[in-house]
Symmetry: C2
Subunit: 274 residues, 2 copies
């Protein structure tokens, strides 16, 4: 069986560290292609580059221009490989007119999560969510939202009922959104999928009553363990808005109750819509 | 008056985005030159590259090998400049034998903090510390620590008395270290200095009873505002150790009570000493 996520993130090696990808229109949200999806495309090219180190440990992406559906190239430049990890500089580019435009410049360290130690100590607290059936499904989003964000059609998301007031004009003001998450095609999560999941929820600024699109300047993802199959819990939070920017922290917890991925992004404060 | 921090982070342009630096032995700690100091050297080269965008907004550094005192080169490759921010790919390299070895590969976005909006909303809580005179000064560290970490001589640090038990074999086990901080030479903090401050405290794993050196894989710094003169408050915390790695979150607060810088790093769990 082939899952749409795998088809949409597929890359073809053109040799010399260059990979061809086809950005699918199903991942458009607001003004461009979703940044988490682009990260998963980059992550797929990196996985192909490091056969014995298939898992992202850390990925830092700087978003330079908005991606568009259509052909793209991922260029991987290995900066160090040796020992248990490998680090590469990566760019995702698209042809615009006669030239290339860089969408994302990134650095990434890959390794093998199966070969790392399994000593786990955590004081982080798993998000508390009512069962999925008692949460608010994205399937009930108004048609104008689904049209603006076709990406929503890729996911089954169940929002915490107390953190979804923004959908009806009543944001909580706390700066927190959490939800159950799975891919609509039934594909189970893996480390590269998590790169996408870290940027899949609506911007946490929705919960502060700022409903516009919030362009990411930089996002760093850490994948801490291989996720177990099943529903993921995803939590976005922000604590500090300053200078027209805010940080958004994301955590992803797997069905075994483990913190499997973390990210922080710095994004521009959205401008009010309308 | 010339401050030692400025002398130690000075760079000379060799044209074509290349800068020469001299890494000072006063910043050695454990097996190499401190990563935060190297970040400030890189930050100084970037500031020279972007005269109208002098402030780091986001810097992501991947540590590939340990820096040594002596000559180094910083190579800046501008990836995008336009509008209010500029993004560059940067490497810090040192000559080893006949070849160059990359110490740090980084990406950075620079801008002008004075030109950003000043709408601030925060729910982050300023660390609570007793007055500096009631805290534990690093000047009282045992001579063997000062010999292993000459960098300690660059700072006046005053540790929270309840978070410094690790110095006498009684770590709290909570995974938190906070301290007052200033440069010993009296130089006031600025945005590039903050890049160093974010990695100046001992690893937070000391407070978990793991006294070894914790090599950083990746560190991303966000500078959120220009710091006011005076003492800074610095807080390190970790929540999750997994797969032999831990994340260390750092916050820097200025004397006006504002969160001026944040970072997260992914580091390898230290091996026990002795």
């Amino acid at each position: 069986m082939t899952f749409e996520f795998d088809t949409h993130t597929e890359v073809q090696s053109n040799g010399d560290g260059r990979y061809a990808a086809e950005l699918d229109p199903g991942w458009v949200v607001g003004g461009g292609v979703n940044g988490g999806y682009l990260l998963a495309v980059i992550g797929t090219a990196l996985r192909a580059s490091f056969p014995t180190k298939p898992d992202p440990l850390a990925v830092s992406a700087y978003y330079l221009s908005a991606g568009r559906p259509g052909p793209a190239e991922v260029a991987v430049d290995v900066r160090r490989e040796g020992g248990s990890v490998a680090t590469a500089s990566v760019e995702l580019r698209q042809q615009v007119g006669q030239g290339d435009e860089t969408r994302i410049a990134a650095l990434a360290t890959y390794g093998d999560l199966d070969r790392l130690g399994d000593d786990v100590r955590t004081t982080a607290e798993e998000p508390v969510l009512p069962p999925p059936d008692e949460c608010v499904a994205n399937a009930f989003a108004p048609p104008e939202i689904l049209e603006m964000a076709p990406m929503m059609g890729r996911f089954d998301m169940r929002f915490h009922p107390e953190q979804v007031g923004w959908a009806v004009g009543q944001p909580s003001g706390r700066g927190e959104i959490s939800a159950w998450f799975r891919l609509i095609d039934g594909r189970e999560p893996d480390p590269v999928t998590l790169l996408m999941v870290l940027d899949a929820l609506p911007p946490v600024t929705f919960d502060l009553g700022m409903m516009g699109w919030a362009p990411t300047l930089e996002l760093t993802a850490h994948v801490r363990a291989k996720p177990a199959p099943g529903w993921l819990k995803v939590r976005h939070a922000t604590r500090n808005m300053a200078g027209g920017m805010f940080e958004e922290d994301c955590e992803v917890w797997d069905s075994a109750g483990r913190l499997v991925a973390q990210s922080r992004q710095l994004a521009r404060q959205p401008r009010p819509i309308g």
